[in-house]
Amino acid sequence: MEDKLLEIRDLHVEYITDDARVFAVNGLNLDVNKGETLGLVGETGAGKTTTALSILRLLPERVGRITRGTIRLGDRNIIDASEGDMLQIRGEVVSMIFQDPMTSLNPVHTVGEQVAEVLELHKKYKTREAAEARVDEILRLVGLPAERKKEYPHQFSGGMKQRIVIAIALACEPQLLLADEPTTALDVTIQAQVLSMMKELKEKLETAMILITHDLGVVAETCDRVAVMYAGEIIESASVEQIFDGGENHHPYTLGLFGSLPDLTRKTRRLNPIEGLMPDPTDLPGGCKFHTRCPKCMEICRLEEPRALIENGHLLKCHFLESKLPGFSKISPESVTRQ
């Protein structure tokens, strides 16, 4: 219990536009321990980025709103924190890296300046030299020559830009790193490099990480725990070993995700995508949100939202499994904790 760094309970986030209300996050519960890497998996539109932005309270100003729930970081409540507190938290306690490295860096500042800035904002260095030395150190840490710090972002490749972004994010040694599909926009070979670098640094600095991705391979490589997200809520969460155990005791959606992966060992004629599309977030279905696509859909799925089931750290939200697995203990949605 002492190890818990981040605790999100019953988070509801909406985007309000002229035409509609978009229910992006609907009753999300999430825990991250110190130093742990949590993989947040789901299709595009599941609400993963919104969740991350909510932790930093960086939702688009007039449009995005947290309508319910709590986010606890250590002993601080993010939802009620003042903007001044948030300014301190961002970059120093919690950092975020975004998907597209090509546009994440300011084109008119040198790379060195951009790294130095996060240090300037949070750490007070006695001398200019000390600060500069730290900048050099960080750049080297991500595998970039310190001499290049006077160059501009456009002079670097995509992979290198992402390293710079990571350098900025880790410069103040935050407790939690939110990584939103950090390697999706990169070449496969570069992906591997950047991921292994991130893993190294993370271990060195003992940073916890929420790694948002839709790539199960990446999850297997880098994560300790996995949370599967669908239509704004977590429908399954477990340790990496549990998720990849190949068994049948998984949420139908999770099984669908695995099943839709091409398998190099088996001969198949066609891929098995999950039928249908993610529901329209302005017009969500009643009951279990996955029921319209679920091969195991039962009558009750259409009517009632499933409660959370948990056993041995493995959490599920599914009526079908509830009936199938009496061993799992049911818990009320408000108090989901891990053993």
């Binding site: 960086l58 938290i89 961002r90 975020m96 300011n106 084109p107 008119v108 996060v118 904002l121 501009y152």
Partner: protein, 310 residues
């Protein structure tokens, strides 16, 4: 960089040639005989013919144009038909007044336009934003010369604090510059606002916020420089417009500048003077654009690396 500047200068030459050709042709199509205009209605035809011969007015169009270009390349932009002085002298005498007004107008436009645009963007949809957008809209629709007239009515006739006519003291330049600045200022407000709004939506601004940068810093250190890049170019272009607008403003305020010179040359069928003054105006416009582009190259690192070594 020098190569770039050199190239730009070279590119101006065909443009200037083109201008002179077009104007030469237009003036040629004019009914009216400059020699007759110079000597007056009652002068005997013989004298007029003699003068035409002297001035080479009876020669073929291309010969005359060719002669003009050759002279121009040697620095002789012709002699005014009306005043019989070299065109260049007249231009030199008249241009400073126009330049002062234009520069002052640009300064006013920048000094007010850009800050207001920034505030509008940052406080989008607030009262300040809406008010400045409304005023900007109005100012782009107001005829500058009418604005000038209204100012004269208010400040010269009613309040008697500013002079209406002439170009002697700095006070004489205030109203003309303000009248010309209004439209440019409005354009700058709208443009700055829209570029700021665009920049604010960019990913790198999100990165800056995620670093914990406070709002002021996000605006001044991160957004501003990026937003001003297109605005800088626009200022250069608007300078050309100002030179054009000067024509009419000078008329309103009775200022003897380049604009009045052009209008008088047109009315007096004084081709050499007209062509010389228009080419000069185009040249100055081109120069300003070049300056602005060079400045831009230094401000935008992405472009700088293309032109400047190191």
């Amino acid at each position: 960089m020098l190569k770039y500047i050199g190239k730009r200068f070279l590119m101006m030459i065909p443009v200037l040639l083109g201008i002179s050709f077009i104007l030469f042709t237009i003036m040629d199509l004019t009914p009216g005989d400059p020699a007759r205009a110079m000597l007056g209605e009652y002068a005997p035809q013989q004298e007029v013919d003699k003068l035409r011969d002297e001035l080479g007015l009876n020669d073929n169009f291309f010969i005359r144009y060719g002669r003009y270009v050759l002279n121009a390349l040697q620095g002789d932009l012709g002699t005014s038909y009306r005043t019989n002085t070299p065109a260049i002298e007249e231009i030199k005498a008249r241009f400073p007044a126009t330049l002062k007004i234009a520069l002052l107008a640009v300064l006013i436009a920048i000094a007010i336009g850009i800050p207001v645009g920034i505030v509008s963007a940052v406080k989008q949809y607030s009262f300040t934003d809406i008010a400045s957008m409304m005023s900007a809209l109005l100012f782009t629709s107001v005829p500058p010369f009418w604005l000038g007239l209204m100012m004269i009515l208010l400040f010269s006739v009613q309040l008697r604090i500013l002079p209406a006519v002439g170009s002697d003291t700095w006070k004489h330049f205030l109203m003309p510059a303000a009248a010309m600045a209004a439209a440019q200022m409005a354009t700058l407000i709208r443009m700055t606002r829209s570029t700021m709004l665009e920049v604010i939506r960019q990913d790198y601004i999100r990165t800056a916020k995620s670093k914990g940068a406070p709002p002021r810093r996000v605006i001044f250190r991160h957004s501003l420089q990026n937003a001003l890049l297109p605005v800088v170019t626009a200022v250069g272009i608007s300078f050309s417009n100002l030179l054009g607008g000067a024509l009419i403003i000078e008329n309103v305020f009775g200022i003897s500048g380049l604009g009045t010179l052009m209008v008088d040359s047109v009315k007096g069928k004084d081709s050499p003077m007209l062509i010389a003054s228009v080419m000069f105006a185009a040249f100055v416009g081109g120069l300003v654009n070049l300056l602005v582009d060079v400045m831009y190259i230094y401000i935008d690192p992405r472009v700088k690396s293309l032109y400047v070594k190191g």
